[in-house]
């Protein structure tokens, strides 16, 4: 892998705690010496949060599609109708 990708992997190993205690010390020393590395670590942490935000959005859309399927498709409609009936006030 090219150097920039190896750096990304090194930052990932640090963020996710995959490093050995010795590697942790070396990485922390590098962070003290390099403000650029500190910034990269911060940006990469944000990136994992963005990935989770994106993924949740996609998952919610998949779940909404399942709900729609259960409401509209004939093979499931009885199941959903039974639940809707629970909420009807007599």
């Amino acid at each position: 892998m090219r150097t920039s990708l190896n750096n990304i992997k090194a930052i990932e190993d640090h963020i996710f705690g995959y490093n050995t205690p010795g590697d942790v010390l070396v990485f922390e020393a590098r962070m003290i010496l390099s403000s650029g590395l500190r910034d990269e670590v911060q940006q990469q942490e944000k990136t994992y949060k963005v990935i989770r935000q994106y993924s949740r959005k996609q998952l919610k859309a998949e779940i909404a599609a399942v709900q729609e399927k259960l409401t509209t498709e004939p093979e499931h409609r009885g199941f959903m109708q039974h639940i809707i009936n629970l909420f009807k006030k007599y």
Binding site: I8, I51, Y54, K60, E62, Q67, F79, F87
Partner: protein, 177 residues
């Protein structure tokens, strides 16, 4: 009773998984919400959020629990958070899960870019970091020749998205200054 969680590799796998969960647990959640004075729509909202939380738990830790009991437990918690006392109109967005989401740094513009131009990368990263699929399965799913090329692709995508996130932070900083 504890249940074995299947490996959910594709949208079709997830669809079958969620349909199964609806059939097993939604009636109990709906009964609960109904008993608490809620509506059908509120029951659906609570259940959808409970499914997201359950999915994240099982994918991250492969825990084996009773699906129905776990989902009902989460749904009760979400209900008490969002609809307790006289705040029935408070949306589910005020739950713990949303508080976690609120710390997300993405603006609408960045998310729109990632959902369009960056979608292929985001799907790959989602498979790794959110769905927690084994790297061999990710390689097969995305048509890579092997584990190594899939791993390199992951880091390339991570670099690309990180650059976008950085760009986004810079332009936001420019905007607020």
């Amino acid at each position: 009773m504890a249940e074995q969680i299947p490996l959910l590799k594709s949208p079709a796998d997830r669809e079958a998984f969620f349909i199964g969960l609806y059939k097993k647990a939604f009636p109990a959640v709906a009964h609960y919400v109904n008993r608490m004075g809620g509506t059908f729509d509120e029951a659906q909202d609570v259940f959808q959020d409970a499914l997201v939380i359950y999915y994240e738990k099982v994918q991250a830790s492969s825990i084996c629990v009773s699906e129905k009991a776990y989902l009902l437990g989460i749904a009760k918690h979400l209900w008490s958070q969002a609809y307790k006392a006289n705040s029935k109109n408070q949306p589910l967005e005020d739950t713990d899960m949303q508080a976690e989401q609120d710390e997300q740094p993405s603006t609408g513009k960045l998310m729109h870019y990632l959902e369009t131009a960056g979608q292929k990368c985001m799907e790959l990263l989602k498979a790794y970091y959110y769905d927690h699929l084994p790297v061999g399965d990710v390689a097969t799913l995305f048509g890579y020749t092997g584990i190594r090329s899939a791993t390199v692709a992951k880091y390339k995508c991570l670099e690309k998205v990180r650059d976008k996130v950085k760009q986004n932070s810079l332009s936001y900083a420019d905007f607020v200054e």
